[in-house]
């Protein structure tokens, strides 16, 4: 069992409240996943700049990282440290170089996400505590996805928590378990796509990234997933300007959606949606099995 929440805002007036609304939804889903939690937020696009969110077991190792990385890539790097995570801002064209440099100057750090707007925060612990550590309620943005985890397929670790990001500004969260993740992991490796953890969900994320690299849209990649991913899943995925939902054909993992003129919202249970503005008059429905839903800005 896991909990998923998602919010895709249509009304710009709600953007300052994205973190606050997602946090409330996430905490309501604590019963479904008390061992770890994570959130991906799509913030404002600063032209010409990209963000790298990195995680360190020991936050003391962040000291001087902006300077050291700046020297390596010969550009100015700014850094915002939030508990065990740091968001590095650097020129857009330098992301690949920075990731390579990071491996040599801080080999123990892990990249949570990379992209123009995405930031991912995830840790072991109760969702409420995780949200507090990273001050999630103050985050602003256009859309966001949160996950509360009850681990089944791999260990309870920070890196095993969701969301998983395997491509620029992409992320995926999952409720369920995949049964063909090992064979798919090998298939992806042959295509040069590396999956960092033992987690089944990361394989699904990498699969979608690979499909999108081959030119498929988010919707098309999800359609391909119905054929190639075996197991139980309710996925919620994010891209720079998109938000998608897919359930497996058996559809035993719960999902509720709500849409108003202001937002599209996703919850594993309706409980997660009850505090959203105007929910009483929202169109509320259960997404159909093996049916791709996606929205773009």
């Amino acid at each position: 069992m896991c909990g998923i929440v998602g919010l895709f805002l249509k009304d710009k007036a709600l953007e300052p409240r994205l973190g606050e609304m997602l946090t409330d939804m996430l905490i309501t889903m604590s019963d479904r996943g008390p061992d770890s939690a994570g959130i991906a937020v799509y913030g404002t696009d600063q032209d010409g700049f990209a963000k790298l969110t990195v995680q360190a077991a020991d936050p003391a190792t962040f000291a001087g990282l902006d300077h050291d990385l700046g020297c390596e890539i010969e550009e100015h790097v700014s850094m915002r440290v939030i508990d065990t995570h740091a968001v590095l801002e650097l020129p857009e064209g330098k992301v690949a170089e920075a990731r390579a440099a990071l491996k040599s100057i801080r080999p123990d750090m892990r990249v949570m996400s990379a992209g123009e707007v995405i930031e991912i925060y995830k840790e072991v612990g109760l969702p409420g505590d995780v949200a507090k550590r990273f001050d999630i309620p103050q985050l602003t943005g256009t859309h966001g996805i949160g996950h509360t985890r009850m681990a089944t397929e791999s260990a309870v670790t920070t890196l095993g928590a969701h969301p998983f990001s395997t491509g620029a500004d992409q992320c995926l969260v999952h409720n369920g378990s995949l049964s063909n993740h090992n064979s798919l992991r090998r298939k992806l490796a042959r295509q040069g796509v590396n999956v960092e953890t033992e987690n089944d969900t990361e394989v699904a994320a990498a699969y979608l990234t690979w499909k999108m690299q081959q030119g498929e849209s988010l919707g098309e990649a999800l359609e391909s997933g119905i054929e190639d991913l075996d197991g139980f899943y309710t996925f919620v995925v994010g891209t720079k300007d998109g938000f998608g939902v897919l359930r497996d054909p058996i559809a035993c993992k719960p999902a509720v959606m709500a849409e108003t003129d202001q937002y599209v919202a996703f919850g594993s249970e309706y409980r997660a949606l009850v505090n959203l503005p105007g929910i009483e008059d929202a169109r509320v429905w259960e997404p159909e099995p093996a049916t791709v839903y996606f929205w773009t800005h």
Partner: protein, 225 residues
Amino acid sequence: MQTFNLEENGLRALNEALQAQSHQTNETAWEIVKPRGSHAIAVGLDAPIDVTVNGSTGYYCAGMNKQATITVKGNVGPGVAENMMSGTVIVEGDASQYAGATGHGGLLVIKGNASSRCGISMKGIDIVVQGNIGHMSAFMAQRGNLVVCGDAGDALGDSIYEAHLFVRGSVKSLGADCIEKEMRPEHIATLTDLLERAGMDAKPEEFKRYGSARKLYNFDIDNAY
């Protein structure tokens, strides 16, 4: 009329109060406000009382009901009226998966759509759905009637025993050992009664009946893989 604010007073107090009602109770009308999608609302009731839930609920609403009439003015989560024994449960919105699962008796009315596995392993309950139902509905259904005014999804009545299925619209596919059957006068009579009790204005003649071909009852080597 007793009004119970679930957000303020909590689920345990609600179910204790409802379960404490006896056959002779004078407090026959209850209204639950602020359900906020909570699970297990009004479960295990055993008295002829009327309970109205003003809003949508989570999992297992009205589970194990005996005698009570429970109306939900909203949508319900998975497992509404699961294992109902008697009484009536009315859902004014949609129902999530396995509505009326394993029900032994009583009437479940869903005015919207029901999703997958509606009436799974039903054992005597009557279920009337005004809209559509999802895949694998009436899987291993043993007794009772499932009436669908809209369409049915894939694998309707898979491995069905002796339940009666009536569908007005299309059936995407029938499950193993489920076949269309002749609608005889006794079936029209049953259907007329159920539609009337559920307050549906559909004509019984517009429905088709489905049930067991009874080919899975005994071991048959041709069924083995």
